[in-house]
Symmetry: C2
Amino acid sequence: MNYHFSNLMSRQSDSVEKLLKNTNDPAMIPFSGGNPAPEAFPVAELSALCGRIFAEQPVAALQYNYSSGYPALRDTVKRWVRERYGVGGGEDEVLITTGSQQGMLLTARALCDPGDVVLCEEFSFLGALNSFRSCGADTVGVAMEPDGMSIGDLERKLKAHPNARFLYTIPNFQNPTGVTLSAEKRREVYRLACRYGIVVLEDDPYGELRFQGEDLPPIKTLDEEGRVIYCGSFSKVVAPGLRVAYAVANRELVTRMSRDKAGDDVHTSALPQILCQRFLEETDFAAHLTSLKQVYRRKARLMMECLDREAVPSGISYLPIDGGMFLWCTLPEGADMLDYCDRLAAEAHVAVVPGSAFAADEGAPCRSFRVNFSTPADEDIVRGCEQLGAFTRTYLGR
Amino acid sequence: MNYHFSNLMSRQSDSVEKLLKNTNDPAMIPFSGGNPAPEAFPVAELSALCGRIFAEQPVAALQYNYSSGYPALRDTVKRWVRERYGVGGGEDEVLITTGSQQGMLLTARALCDPGDVVLCEEFSFLGALNSFRSCGADTVGVAMEPDGMSIGDLERKLKAHPNARFLYTIPNFQNPTGVTLSAEKRREVYRLACRYGIVVLEDDPYGELRFQGEDLPPIKTLDEEGRVIYCGSFSKVVAPGLRVAYAVANRELVTRMSRDKAGDDVHTSALPQILCQRFLEETDFAAHLTSLKQVYRRKARLMMECLDREAVPSGISYLPIDGGMFLWCTLPEGADMLDYCDRLAAEAHVAVVPGSAFAADEGAPCRSFRVNFSTPADEDIVRGCEQLGAFTRTYLGR
C-alpha cells in the first residue's frame, strides 16, 4: 500500500545510513566511526556485577521501574555530578535517559514547535541535529573558532531568530571539530542565554576523555535559574551499548521530560541502569577513568603523529585536541571535499565522514572531514594514515 | 525561569502520576498495577545467560549496535513470529523497539500530523493513548462489545474521520477490558481498514498469557499489502524491566521507523537484546511459557472466585476472561465510579484504576474500573477482594 507519512517523517533524511554504508566492508579502515575504544570496556567488572545483581536484586533488574530512572542511580548520579562537576544542587533533579540521544529528543519535544529554531555549533553531532529536525525544529549554525563558538555570531543569530528555543552545545572536545569552549566563552554563552531568554542544552559526553590540560567548569555551574540542561552519559566512560545517560535540569523540566519519556519507552532498561549504578558505587571508578584516558591519549597521539607525518605535508590541516574521540581535518582552498572523501573510500579504502554531514545549516560550504581514532585498532590508525597520505599526495598533486 | 513549553508538551497530562500516587503506600493493596508476576521471571536462566554473554560476546553486549536491532535477535524474532503466529513473511521486516511503547510512538510519529485521528478501542492502554496524543493526534474511541470492538461503530468512525491514520487495537485480553477480538471480527477489521485505506497497529503483549481456550490468528496473518504493524513484546513473557519488544511491518515502514528511532535512543540496549535472543534460542521457551500460563491461570481464577464471592453479590459485574492480566469491573447504574474508587483507596486500602483513565474520548461516561491480578501476591488477592467486598456492600447499601 502507499503510506501517508507525517510531514515530520517526510523531512527525515537517510544521510546517516549513507554515511555508514561503508562500515561493513572489512577492507575499509574505519576512521568514520564514533565508537568508544572496546579495549577500554570494563568487561570483568561488569560481568561480576551482573552476577551479583541477579543474586541480590533480580526483581529490581527485571520488573518495571520508574520513568525518571532507577532511584539509586538517580541518587548516585546526583552525588557524582555534584562532587565531580559542581552541578545539580538546589531546584535541579536528575532524569535517566536511554542514551543522551533521548535527552536531545525530549528537550526538543519539550521546547520546540514546528518552525522553531535550535541554535547549534555550525558543525555539530548529527544525531542531535536529526533529533531536533524530527521535532520540526530548524537548526541554525553558530560559527566555530578554535576556542569554541563565536560569541559575536551567537548574538547575531539570537537577534535574527527570536523563535530560537535553545542553544545546543558540546563544550568539551566537540563532535565533530574536537574544539573545547573556553572558560571565558562559557560565561559569555550563559550571559547571552539569559539576556535573550533561551535554554542551553549542554551535552558533555566526552568531558572525562581529557588526556591533557585542565578541566573547565560546565556552563551548568553558572546556572542560577534552571536555564541549563546538562547531559552526561555512561556511553564513553562505561559502555555505549548499555544506553544509559542522564540529564540534570530544573525539576519542572525533569517532570515534563519524564512524563514524555513514559510515552516513549516507559523507562530505560533496568539491568543496565543498575550496572551503571553499582559500577560507580562498587568499583574504583577513578582508576577506571585513569586507564581510559591512557588508552585515548595513546590513540589520539598516535593519530596526530601519523597525520603530521603522512597528511599535513600534503596540505591537510587539523585542529589539535586535548581529549575526545575526533579530529577535524581541512583540505586546502579549492579542494572538492565530497569528491575527496568518496574517492578516499573507493581508492584508498579509508572511510572518513564528510564535514557537510554535520552542518547545522544544510548545504553550507565545507572543506573539512572528521576522523575518529577511538574505533580503529592502533595498527589500523598507522596503516589508514599511510593510505590516506598516499592518496592525498596524488589527489592534491603535492 | 519561565519555560516556553511546546504546544505538544502543554497537552500532556499528569493523570498517570496521579493514578500511581497510591502505589507506594505499603498498606495499599495494589489492584491498580500492571506489572507481570515477578514469581514468573526466569531469573536463574537469565543470570546464567548473562555470564555466558560476558564470557563469549562482551563487545556485542557493550558496543554500539544497529538502530533496527541486534541482527541475531531480529532473525530469532522473525523465525519465532513466523512459526508461532504465521506472520512476517514477504516484504515484512522486524524492528526491535525499547518496549512496545516505543513502537506506539514511532508509529504515531511516522503516520500522524497534529490534528490527525487515531482510532482506538473506547477504553484502551493509557500509555498508547498518551503516546499518540504526545504526537498531536486525537484519539477517538470505537465502542467495545464482549467479543471486541463494534464493527458497526468502527465503520461509523471511519466515515466520520477521514483523517484517521491508523486503528490501534489490542486483540487479545485487551487492556483494560480483558476482551478478546473474535476471529470473525478480525477479518472485518482488516476488510474495513483496506476499504478506508488506514493502517492497523496490532498490539499483542498478552497473547501468550492465554490460560484457556484456543489461540486466534493475529490480524497480521490476513495482511497481504503491508497494512498491519504487529507489535510483540518480551515484557510479559520474559521480563518488562529489560525493555525489549518488536514490530513486524512492511520494510518501508521499518526503514522509516528505524531511522526515527536512531534519533530517539540510537538503539535498544544491547545486553537485554542478547539476553532475549539467547533466552529464546538456548532455553526451553515452550516450557517457560507453560509455567507462566500456570501462574496466570491460578491468579486469574483466584481473583474471579474472590470477586464472585465478595463483590458480585453487592452489585459489581465483570467480564470473564481467557487470559491476560486484567479484569474490567462495572458498578450498577447510578453509581459514581470516581467517588467509589477514591473512597475504596482511602477507606478500604484497595487501589484500582478508574475506567475513565483509559477513555479514548476524554470525558466519556464510565462506571467501570480495572483490577489487576498479576502484581499482587495470592494472599493480597484474597484480602483485597474481602476489603473491596466489605466496602462495596456499605457503599452501595446492599
